[in-house]
Subunit: 602 residues, 2 copies
C-alpha cells in the first residue's frame, strides 16, 4: 500500500550532524531558542500533520480532481478540512514575524515542513505554497496601510494568496504581458486582463483570496521595465468602501492536467478589478524577484519530496515482492524463499533503489543548506557572513530548482520501474507520483530558464565573484584527508572543482566569439555545478560520520549506511560529469552550431 513516513532520521542527520543548524541559528538574532530539541519537536509535529492529515487525501484528490462550475471551484473531498486543521495548528505563520502573528521560526524549518507536505500531497500543498512568498513580497514592498490589512490575515492563514504572472502570450517572457492597470481618483487602480495557470486562483478553502498581479500602467514602456505589481483581493477588505463585497476578479475555468489534479490551475479574468499598487511603478518584476529565491528553493524541494516518497514506497515493495533467485553473493542468507528472493536482493533493483536513495539524501542536504543560507542572508549579524550568503544564494538557487526537480522526476520513474507492471496501475500509487513530479521542471521558470539564469546572467554576466566564493568554500573543505575512503572522495571533489573552473573559462572564451555558445550548454553547465555542490556535501556527510565514530570500522549502522550511500554517489552518479564536460567541450567547437530547424523538410 502506498504510504508516507517522515524521513526523521535523515532530516536530523542533515540538520544536526551535517549542517549543525542549531549552532548557526544560535548566532542569528531572534533564533537563540531554536535548539535541536525545539527543531525536533517541530519536525515531529510537521511529520505527523503531513502523514495523518494531508497524505490520506492525496490519492483521492488525484482521482476526484477539482470541479469547476460557473466561476466556483470545489476542491477534492477533505482538502478544505485539511486546510482548516493546517490553519488551526498555526502552520501558515511558521516562518513569519511575530509582529504579524507569525511564529518567527527560521526558513530551514519551513523548508523541512514543505518537504514533508510535498511528499504527502503535492496538489494540496500548492494552495499553501504561495502564502509565504506573498507574505515576504508584501512585507518588503507594500505600504504600511496595506501591510496592516493583509499581513495578519495571510500569516494567520485566514486568507490565501496567488501570484498572477502568466498570460497566454507571456509565459517565460513576462515582458509581453498585457494586463492593464488604470489609476482612479481615490488612488487605487482598475485592473483589466487575463491570466492563466494561476494556482489556487479560485477555491473553497478561504473566503478571501489575495492576488498579487503583474500589470501595466497606461504610460508604461514596453517590455519588462513597464510592469508594476498590484494587490487585488477577491473580496474588498474591511475599512474600505464596499468592504466584504466581491471584487471584479473571475475564474473562467480550470485546466485538466497530467498531475496535481487536486490543485486548481485557474484561468483568471480581471474586469476593472480594484487593485492597490505595491512598491514603485515599473518595479513589479523586481518586487517579485525578491521572493523568487525562496520560491525556487521550494520548487526544488518538491523534487526532493517526490523522490523521497518514490524511494520509500519502491523500497517497501522491493522488500516484499518475491521474483527469481538473486545471483550469488547478493542473495540474503536468511529468511529466503526456496523459490525466489525478494527483488531487493537483485542487483538491478538495488541500483534503481540506491540511485533514488543517493539522490534523495543529497538533495535534502543541498536544499536544507540553501535554506539555512536564506536565514543567514536575512539576519546574520556579521556583515561578511551575510554578504557571502547573499552572493551564494543567486548562484545556488537555480541549481537547486532545476537539478532537484529533474532528479525528482527521474526518481519517481525509477521507483515505478521497481514495481514492474504493477507500477503502471493507478491503484499502486506510484504513477501519480510520476505525473505530479513532472510539473516542477516547468513552473517557476522552466529548468532551461534556470540554467540560462545561472550561466549567462550570473556567471558570465557579473557574479563571477560569487563563483570564486563558492569555489573557495569547497577548496577549503576538500583538502587532503588522512582516512583513505575520505581522501578518495576528496580527490573526486577536487577534480570536479577543477573541471568547473576550466569549463567556466572555456565557456567565457567561446562566448566572446560565439554569443550563442553558453545558451547551447547551459543545462549541462548547471548539472555540472550541481554535482560540484552534491559531491562536496557528500564528502562532508561521509566525514561527519567518521568524526563521530573515530574510524571506518567503528561506524554505527546509521553511519555505515550514510557512508555506503556517499560511496554510491561517487561511484555511480558523479561520473555523469564526464558526459557533461565532454558535451560542453564539443559544443564550444566552432563547428557546433545547431541546425536552425526553422525550415520545413525536417
Amino acid at each position: 500500500m502506498f504510504q508516507y513516513r517522515p524521513p526523521t532520521g535523515d532530516q536530523q542527520f542533515v540538520l544536526f550532524d551535517l549542517l549543525d543548524a542549531p549552532s548557526l541559528l544560535g548566532e542569528l538574532p531572534g533564533y537563540a531558542e531554536v535548539d535541536s530539541a525545539l527543531m525536533t519537536s517541530i519536525l515531529e509535529e510537521a511529520g505527523r500533520f503531513s502523514t495523518e492529515v494531508v497524505f490520506p487525501i492525496n490519492a483521492g484528490g488525484d482521482r476526484q480532481g477539482c470541479r469547476y462550475n460557473d466561476g466556483q471551484v470545489r476542491t477534492p473531498d477533505g482538502f478544505r478540512d485539511a486546510y482548516v486543521a493546517f490553519q488551526a495548528a498555526g502552520w501558515p505563520g511558521l516562518g513569519c514575524e511575530p509582529q504579524y502573528g507569525g511564529q518567527g521560526l527560521p526558513q530551514v524549518l519551513n523548508a523541512a515542513l514543505f518537504e514533508m507536505l510535498g511528499s504527502a500531497n503535492h496538489a494540496w500543498t500548492m494552495y499553501v505554497g504561495l502564502l509565504h512568498g506573498a507574505y515576504e513580497c508584501l512585507k518588503d514592498h507594500a505600504s504600511e496601510e496595506i501591510k496592516q490589512i493583509y499581513l495578519p490575515k495571510i500569516v494567520s492563514g485566514e486568507w490565501l494568496a496567488t501570484m498572477c504572472l502568466t498570460e497566454p502570450q507571456a509565459g517565460s517572457d513576462l515582458g509581453q504581458l498585457r494586463t492593464r492597470a488604470e489609476p482612479v481618483a481615490d488612488g487605487t487602480y482598475r485592473l483589466t486582463g487575463s491570466k492563466i495557470f494561476i494556482s489556487g486562483g479560485e477555491h473553497d478553502m478561504t473566503d478571501n483570496i489575495v492576488h498579487l498581479v503583474l500589470a501595466r500602467l497606461p504610460d508604461a514602456p514596453p517590455g519588462s521595465r513597464g510592469i508594476s505589481l498590484f494587490v487585488v483581493p477577491k473580496r474588498l477588505p474591511e475599512g474600505k468602501a464596499g468592504a466584504g463585497s466581491r471584487n471584479a476578479v473571475y475564474c473562467d475555468g480550470i485546466e485538466h492536467k497530467m498531475g496535481i489534479k487536486g490543485s486548481a490551475t485557474c484561468q483568471m479574468r480581471f474586469d476593472q478589478a480594484a487593485g492597490w499598487l505595491v512598491g514603485e511603478p515599473g518595479r513589479g518584476l523586481a518586487c517579485m524577484f525578491v521572493m523568487m529565491n525562496a520560491a525556487r528553493l521550494h520548487v526544488g524541494i518538491q523534487g526532493l519530496s517526490h523522490a523521497e516518497t518514490a524511494f520509500q514506497n519502491s523500497l517497501s515493495y522491493a522488500r516484499e515482492r518475491l521474483q527469481m533467485k538473486a545471483p550469488l553473493r547478493a542473495r540474503p542468507t536468511e529468511g529466503v524463499s526456496k523459490v525466489a528472493d525478494p527483488i531487493v536482493a537483485h542487483p538491478a533493483v538495488r541500483r534503481l533503489l540506491m540511485t533514488q536513495k543517493a539522490r534523495v539524501e543529497g538533495a535534502r542536504a543541498l536544499a536544507y543548506w540553501t535554506a539555512l543560507m536564506l536565514d543567514v542572508a536575512e539576519r546574520h549579524p556579521d556583515t561578511a557572513r551575510r554578504t557571502r550568503a547573499r552572493e551564494l544564494l543567486p548562484l545556488v538557487t537555480p541549481i537547486v530548482k532545476a537539478m532537484l526537480t529533474e532528479d525528482g522526476f527521474q526518481c519517481a520513474s525509477l521507483a515505478l520501474q521497481v514495481y514492474g507492471g504493477y507500477g503502471y496501475v493507478s491503484e499502486t500509487g506510484i504513477e501519480q507520483c510520476v505525473r505530479d513530479a513532472r510539473v516542477p521542471m516547468i513552473y517557476e521558470g522552466t529548468n532551461e530558464i534556470q540554467a540560462i539564469d545561472l550561466l549567462v546572467r550570473k556567471i558570465l554576466g557579473g557574479s563571477d565573484g560569487s563563483l570564486k566564493t563558492l569555489l573557495a568554500v569547497i577548496t577549503a573543505d576538500a583538502r587532503v584527508h588522512a582516512e583513505p575512503i575520505l581522501e578518495a572522495m576528496a580527490v573526486c571533489v577536487r577534480r570536479v572543482r577543477a573541471l568547473v573552473e576550466r569549463i567556466t573559462e572555456s565557456v567565457r572564451t567561446a562566448a566572446a566569439r560565439d554569443p550563442e555558445a553558453p545558451y547551447r550548454i547551459a543545462s549541462e553547465y548547471l548539472r555540472l555545478m550541481g554535482h560540484l555542490l552534491l559531491s562536496w556535501l557528500w564528502l562532508r556527510a561521509a566525514r561527519v560520520t567518521h568524526a563521530t565514530s573515530g574510524s571506518t570500522s567503528a561506524l554505527t549502522p546509521v553511519g555505515a549506511d550514510k557512508q555506503a550511500t556517499a560511496q554510491y554517489y561517487f561511484q555511480y552518479l558523479l561520473p555523469e560529469t564526464d558526459q557533461l564536460a565532454h558535451v560542453i567541450e564539443n559544443s564550444l567547437a566552432p563547428t557546433s552550431l545547431l541546425p536552425s530547424l526553422d525550415a520545413d523538410g525536417n
Copy 2:
C-alpha cells in the same frame, strides 16, 4: 493542435538509401517483387490509415478509456470501427504467408506499419499488436489441425489474439506460474487459474479471442521447465463439440492505468476452460521465445513511435510560439517579430528538439535494420548470411527493446518541456504521449531484464561469437575515411568499438571472482552497446548522403539535414558512453558491492 504526419521522407531514406532494403529483399525467395515502388505505396497506405483512421480516436480513447461491466469490456468510441477498417484493408495479414490468406510481405514493412500505428494511437495498436506473434507461434508449433482452424481466422483478422503469461506471483519470474492444465479423455485439456495484465483479454472488436496460455500439466516439474503452451479460444471453434459456445474464460476486471487507457488490460480467469496443447509438453517457454524477438522489436518500435509523435508536435509548437528574443546568431534573419522570436530560435529549445530528432532517426535506422535481419534470418538462401543474422538478432533485440523505449519516454518528456506550462495541460496532447510512452519500458520483459539477458545470458553465457560477428561488421564499416567529416565520425565509432571490447573483457574477468558484478551494470552495458550500433548507423547515414552528393558542399537539403543530425548525435549524445564506461569500471572494483537495503533504518 496535436497531430500526426507519417515521416515518409526519413522512412524512405532509411529503407532505400541507408539500408538498400529492396536489393536485400530481392535476394530472398518470395520477395522478388518487393521493390521500392511497392514499398513506397504500402508505406503511403499505412501512413494514410494511421493518420486518418487511427490517430483521430487517440485523444478520445485516452479520455474515455475502456469500460468494464459484468465480464464485458467496451472499448472507447471508434475503436471497433477502426478495427473493422483495419481488417477490411487486409492489414492483419501483411506479414503472413499467402497459404493462410496473408500478403506475404517482409517483416521490415510490418515494422514500418507498426511504427506509424503506434505513433498514431498506441492504445488501439495494442489490440492488433499480438496478432502477428500469435500467428508465428501457432504456425511454428501447433498441430496441422489447430493451424487449419486458427491461422486463417487470425490472418484475416476475424479473431484477435492474446498472450496469457503473467500471474500475480509470476511476472518477470514465469517459473512461478500456477495455472493448471488437466488432460481429459478426448485429448484436450481443462485449464484453471488466474492471469493478469492481459492486453486485449476481453473486448468488443471481434466475436472470438484466441488466448495463448502458459500453464502446468499435473505431472510437470517446478520452475520454468514445467510450463506448457495451450490455445484457449473464447468461443469454441467450428467442427468441435459445442462449436460457437462460450468457453470458461472470464474477464474479472480491467486495470486503471497511467496511460494506454484505451487498451483493455484484463484480469482473466480460466475455470476449467477447454484448451489444446501447442508444441511439446514442458516446452511452453521455448515456443513463446520464438516469437519473443519479433515482439521485443515491436515494443522497441513503440519507443520510436512515441519519440516521432513527440518530436513532430514539439517542433511545430516551437515554430509558432513566440517568447523572448533569441541570442545573437541564433536569431532568424527574416520574418522575426520585433517583440519576440519563435522559441525554435532559442538554443535551449533547439537542444530539446535536436536530441529528439537524433534519437528518432537513429532509432528508426536501428529498428528497420533489425527488422530486415528478421527477414534475412527467416529466408536468406545463403546459409552463412542466414546464420549471421540468426546470431546477431538475439544480441541486438534486447538493445532495441530497452534503449528505444527508454529514449522514447525521454523524448516524450523533452517534447513536453518544449511546450512549457501548456505541455502539462491535457488538451495539448503531449502529456498523454508521456504517459503512454512509459509502459514499453516495463512490459515484454522490463528493461532491466533485457540488459541481463544481453550481458549475462548472451555475452557472458555463450554468444561471445555473436559479439565478435557484430564487431567485425562494424570494424569493416568504420575504416579510415578520406572525407574529414566522415573520418571524425569513424574515429568515434572505432573508439566506442574498442571501449566495448575492453569493457566486455573487464566484465568477464570481474564476473569470475564476483558473480554479482555483471548484474550491477548490465543496464549501462546495454546502452553502451546501443551507442555502438547507433554510432555505426549514423556514420553510414552520413556516408550515404556524401556518396549521393559527391562532397559536403554539394549536399542536398535533405542530405545536409541528415549530416547535421549525425553530427549532433556524435557531439551531444554519444558522450554518454564516457559516463557509462566510467560507471561500469567503478562498479567492477572489489569495493563496489551495493548495500543490501534489506535491513530497516534505511
